[in-house]
Amino acid sequence: MTPDMSFFHLITNASIPVQAVMLMLVIASVMSWTMIFKKRIWLNRAKQAADSFEEHFWSLEELSPLYHRINKQRQEASGMELLFEAGFREFVRLQKQGGVVADAVMEGSQRAMRVAFNRELEDLETHLSFLATVGSTSPYIGLFGTVWGIMNSFRALGNVQQASISMVAPGIAEALVATAMGLFAAIPAVIAYNRFSSDVERLLNRYDTFIEEFSAILHRQAHS
């Protein structure tokens, strides 16, 4: 008797807990890849938007036309545009009010930019924790499935009189599929997590720098 060792057969022959583990891991892998693609596309867009905005910003002499243009845009401003819009709106509003000291105007506009920055940070960091979780727990889940499968095959081995390697081998192979799946899900997630967190960090640094530069410009205007 030669046991069927095809991949499909291995999975369908596995015990229920092992199958459950495999299903979980497949779902985790699909979801983490979904996140990876989404995040990649999004980060690329944000980076491009920041590049083009910065180029535009530094080539202008007057700030108000830029502000009106952003205000008129159909979609909601994000990234540097959001920071710029928030800071400039507050600045103009406080200046129009009159009777506000230049330092207070500066403080108000900086506060507005800070708030926008925090909102942006929140947006950028969503889903990253999911990738981290998948990356760190998938191997353990897979290992659990494997241990369970091996346990079962040894238990079955104890019931027979003449034990041979061909009796345990299918069970162990089955069980090891779970570990393979766990690693399959975890490795890309860990790589993507590291990559994205450094990308997000860099983007946030750029935003921070932009806030400082823009504050300097506003400061000059407020005290002129």
């Binding site: 991949f7 979904t34 693609f37 989404k38 596309i41």
Partner: protein, 294 residues
């Protein structure tokens, strides 16, 4: 946002489908390695042998061997002879070569001499050519220098002319200026005269006014008539009187004192408010002759 998620999910599913199908295909292709025994061939061939024939054969082989050795020795001798002949030939050859070498060296020496001569000749011609060229260069330089001098002289002339023109212009300008200055001076003089005339009238008016004010404040009861005194008055712009002193007494003490009082009372005096005018008319500090009318 929703669209992005959906797109990413599709990418993810496609990736999984590809990777899993590749893995499965690989896995299934590799499974159940079968061990097949290979047919082997090792058949032994056996042969029977006769003892006598072997002996004969050995004898034959030995004779053959001896014969071969003899032939070999003969060949060796031949070869040695040949070698000595070759050696001899080689020596002759060498002698010939040496002679040729000597000849070649002589030839080379001759050639070297010829070469040297040729070089000497060349050097001579080169120096000659250089000398000529240098002369030519010198002549050109000289020509250039002369031209340069000519040019300089022309420039100098032009410069001189230019300067002359400038001096002329300067002279004219100065004359013009002088004329203008004179005109201005004349005008100023006229203006000053006019001003002086005007000032005179103004001063007369002011003095009359002051006199009137002071006389209005003067108490002449019980004083003899015909007295007159001079008072030194000091004022500030606005007409305020700072001090009044008697510079020339009338002889009557009471008259003098009353005149001083009258001026003090008349303060502020009707003087022009403008300090410049005040200065011009010298009214900051002035002598005032007081002589009450009958």
């Amino acid at each position: 946002m929703q669209f992005l998620t959906l797109r990413s999910l599709l990418y993810s599913l496609a990736l999984h489908a590809v990777v899993i199908s590749a893995l499965v295909a690989n896995f299934d292709a590799e499974r159940t390695p079968v061990f097949k025994p290979q047919p082997q061939e090792n058949i032994v061939e056996a042969v029977t042998v006769d003892e006598q024939e072997v002996e004969k054969e050995i004898q034959r082989l030995r004779e053959q061997e001896q014969e071969k050795q003899r032939a070999m020795e003969q060949k060796l001798k031949d070869l040695e002879q040949q070698a000595s002949a070759v050696e001899k030939r080689r020596k002759e050859e060498e002698q010939k070569k040496q002679a040729a070498e000597r000849k070649r060296k002589e030839e080379e020496q001759r050639k070297a001499q010829a070469e040297q001569q040729r070089k000497e000749e060349e050097r001579r011609t080169a120096t000659e050519r250089r000398r000529i060229e240098q002369d030519k260069l010198k002549a050109q330089a000289e020509l250039k220098r002369i031209e340069e001098e000519n040019r300089k002289a022309q420039a100098e002339q032009a410069r001189l002319e230019q300067e002359k023109r400038k001096a002329e212009a300067e002279r004219k300008r100065q004359e013009e200026e002088k004329r203008k200055q004179a005109e201005a001076a004349a005008q100023r003089k006229q203006l000053a005269q006019e001003q002086r005339a005007k000032d005179k009238i103004t001063l007369q008016n002011i003095v009359a006014e002051i006199y009137q004010v002071v006389a209005g404040n003067f108490n002449k009861t019980g004083l003899p008539r015909g007295l007159e005194c001079t008072l030194a008055v000091q004022t500030v712009p606005g007409g305020e009187v700072i001090s009044v002193t008697v510079s020339k007494t009338s002889g009557n003490e009471v008259f003098d004192r009353r005149a001083v009082t009258a001026v003090e009372k008349a303060s502020p005096l009707p003087l022009p408010a403008d300090p410049a005018t005040l200065d011009r008319l010298r009214l900051r500090k002035f002598n005032f002759v007081f002589k009450p009318e009958e």
